[in-house]
């Protein structure tokens, strides 16, 4: 055997050894990664949120460039600017967050108004006979109303606190007479479905409500601790100046070097455009609803709060609009003192106007915001959207619903780009 053959033989053996080592290492890393994700599942969401925020705010950080300032100081300055804006935003929002007294008033008013509207809708004829349609609706909506009433019922402590506030407590002005009347009327709210009509459903619903109302305190504490990770991840990813990308690219074999660079870049571009586009779209939807509600005479505080929530849930396709509609209609049903800028508008026909407003916002979103902000960035089949939202809600509740579509978009873009680039580089 010549020296060249010997060298080739050794090289072949080395190649096999390298392959075995890589495979073993990758399998171990996968197993360890899976185990850690399973064990530390409570940390996953804060990490994702922190990373997502860092990703979203990266353009702000990159725009903030002062050549003579070290990178770390530049990042700190950009964080300070972001922090300052967020602080003022939260400070403004905080002023509109209701205190304990306002919360109690709101709960009492909501229960009273909902029942009042429901009873108006279900008004029977003077002879006491209800129409067949009304009877049918009553049969279907009645149990739901009972559940809502159960949820809005003040517990003994809240009732005691309400009576204290009624007399003037904690330096607050006494609760208005009309709220006290609502409170008294709520005490006499009857059940819309008699126990014989729904024998099994009610206890199950009560148990479900009770289970939801009493989360274990320890669990709450641990999840709060986990959320400290989110700002930490945000800050440390913010300080990263491409080192992480360099590190991961250094692990890639030479053959896939250019491919992985292009792939990462395309993914970053597509996902960045989608996420930032969605954020802008949500902001525009929230702003439209907020301005519309102010135009309809709803006070600025609730209008801003409804706009914020509606904007946030707008990230959930279709369902977001439905949730926004429910929130807006719920408020419209209980609104009393409105100062509308549109003539002829009163609390009785406010729900109709709110319905029109939500419709207009939806059309604006479809016709103007989405094409303008998102373009045709990502098209997902409606069936995939529905399945993803349901799946997301089953796995992680509301957060799962919000993150379901971005996750689908990331996976879809990654697969599409990967296959395209693999073909371009003649690897497959």
């Amino acid at each position: 055997m010549g020296p060249e053959q010997d060298f080739e033989e050794k090289e072949r053996e080395r190649k096999v050894r390298r392959r075995v080592f890589h495979l073993t290492f990758a399998s171990l890393a996968l197993i360890l990664g899976g185990f850690l994700i399973w064990k530390l599942s409570s940390l996953v969401l804060p990490i994702i949120v922190g990373a997502l925020l860092a990703f979203l705010f990266r353009p702000v950080k990159e725009r903030f460039k002062i050549p003579w300032l070290p990178h770390e100081l530049q990042v700190l300055c950009s964080f300070a600017a972001i922090g300052l804006v967020l602080f003022f935003a939260f400070d403004t929002a905080r002023k509109h967050i209701p205190d304990d007294q306002q919360k109690l008033e709101f709960k009492v008013r909501l229960k009273y108004k909902l029942n009042e509207k429901y009873q108006q809708l279900m008004t029977k004829s003077p002879e006491g006979k209800s129409s067949m349609l009304v009877g049918l609706i009553e049969k279907q909506v009645g149990p739901l109303m009972d559940k809502v009433n159960e949820l809005l019922e003040l517990d003994p402590q809240e009732r005691e606190l309400f009576l204290k506030y009624r007399a003037g407590y904690n330096g607050n002005p006494p609760i208005e007479n009309k709220f006290f009347e609502y409170f008294q009327a709520n005490q006499n709210t009857r059940k819309y479905v008699t126990p014989e009509e729904a024998p099994a459903a009610a206890p199950a619903a009560t148990a479900a409500v009770a289970a939801r109302v009493e989360p274990p305190a320890a669990r709450e504490g641990s999840s709060l601790e986990a959320w400290i990770l989110a700002p930490l991840i945000f800050v440390f990813l913010g300080f990263d100046n491409g080192q992480m990308r360099h590190y991961f690219i250094s692990l890639v074999p030479n053959r896939y070097f250019e491919l992985s660079l292009t792939l990462l870049d395309r993914l970053d571009d597509a996902i960045g455009k989608y996420l930032r586009g969605t954020l802008t779209e949500c902001f525009l939807v929230g702003l439209t609803l907020c301005l519309g509600l102010i135009l309809l005479g709803i006070p600025v505080g609730p209008a801003v709060a409804i706009g914020l929530i509606s904007g946030l849930v707008n990230a959930i396709p279709w369902l977001g609009t439905l949730i926004a509609l429910v929130i807006c209609l719920s408020y419209a049903l209980i609104a009393e003192n409105i100062a509308p800028l549109i003539p002829g508008l009163n609390p009785n026909n406010l729900p109709l106007y709110v319905l029109i407003l939500v419709g207009i916002t939806r059309v604006l979103d479809d016709v103007v915001f989405q094409p303008f902000v998102l373009g045709s960035a990502v098209n997902i089949h409606p069936l995939v959207v529905v399945v993803a939202i349901i799946g997301g809600s089953l796995i992680m509740g509301l957060w799962g619903m919000v993150f379901a579509i971005p996750t689908v978009v990331v996976v879809k873009t990654a697969i599409e780009t990967l296959f395209k680039e693999l073909k371009d580089y003649r690897i497959i």
């Binding site: 460039k65 050549p67 100046n241 030479n254 070097f257 250019e258 660079l261 292009t262 371009d424 580089y425």
Partner: protein, 211 residues
């Protein structure tokens, strides 16, 4: 990896030692003298270590190397540091393909050490167009567009390269327009020179009456 600079045996600057001796208080006892001599030796050692460490840091070595590359020779130290931060280090074994003809180009390669053959394959026949060595660069057209590579690049021995990604250079336009502009100007000048030499070659190869 980057080649380490040879250890520096230069002594500390004279003024350092001079200052140290001059600062010695007058009327010091004879026992204090060996102490200050020991201190002087310790300082000298520390100075040399720091100097050697500073000179052999991979980042500085890389910047020193970049200064020798025609692409970057007009850039300042600060600008070279900015460019250096965006470069990827890639090592290739003997006879390893760096890129293949027809693949979309994305990266310019600078040879830190080693030898690379640029070759073209036509009908089972390979023609070597050039053999590039330390300090040379190849794949520069990839910095301009995504056009497919026009030739293969293969390492002839263990080769260390630095790679500059097209989109990193594009992003540099936003972050540091002056640096990016200087690099693009150098690139345009190099491509212009190559076009001129190709034209000259065509004129010498093809007689004027046949054109």
């Amino acid at each position: 990896m980057l080649q380490k600079s040879p250890p520096n045996h230069d002594g500390p600057p004279n003024h350092a030692g001079g200052t140290l001796l001059a600062s010695e208080p007058r009327g010091m006892s004879s026992s204090a003298k060996p102490m200050s001599a020991r201190k002087l030796v310790a300082d000298k050692l520390l100075w040399e270590t720091l100097k050697r460490w500073k000179r052999s840091s991979p980042e500085l070595d890389r910047i020193q190397f970049l200064k020798t590359v025609p692409f970057f020779n007009e850039l300042s130290h600060r600008q070279l540091k900015t460019v250096s931060d965006t470069l990827f280090e890639r090592n290739y074994e003997t006879d390893e393909l760096i890129f293949e003809e027809g693949q979309p180009g994305a990266v310019l390669f600078l040879i830190l050490d080693g030898k690379v053959a640029v070759e073209m394959c036509r009908e089972n026949h390979t023609t070597t167009l050039a053999i590039l060595e330390k300090g040379a660069f190849f794949g520069e057209m990839a910095l301009l567009n995504e056009a497919p590579r026009s030739a293969n690049a293969r390492s002839l021995e263990r080769t260390y390269t630095l790679a500059l990604y097209r989109n990193d250079l594009s992003r540099l336009i936003q972050r540091d327009p002056q640096t990016a502009c200087q690099i693009y100007r150098a690139l345009a000048s190099i491509i212009g020179d190559r076009l001129r030499s190709t034209n000259e070659l065509m004129h010498t190869e093809i007689p004027t009456d046949k054109v």
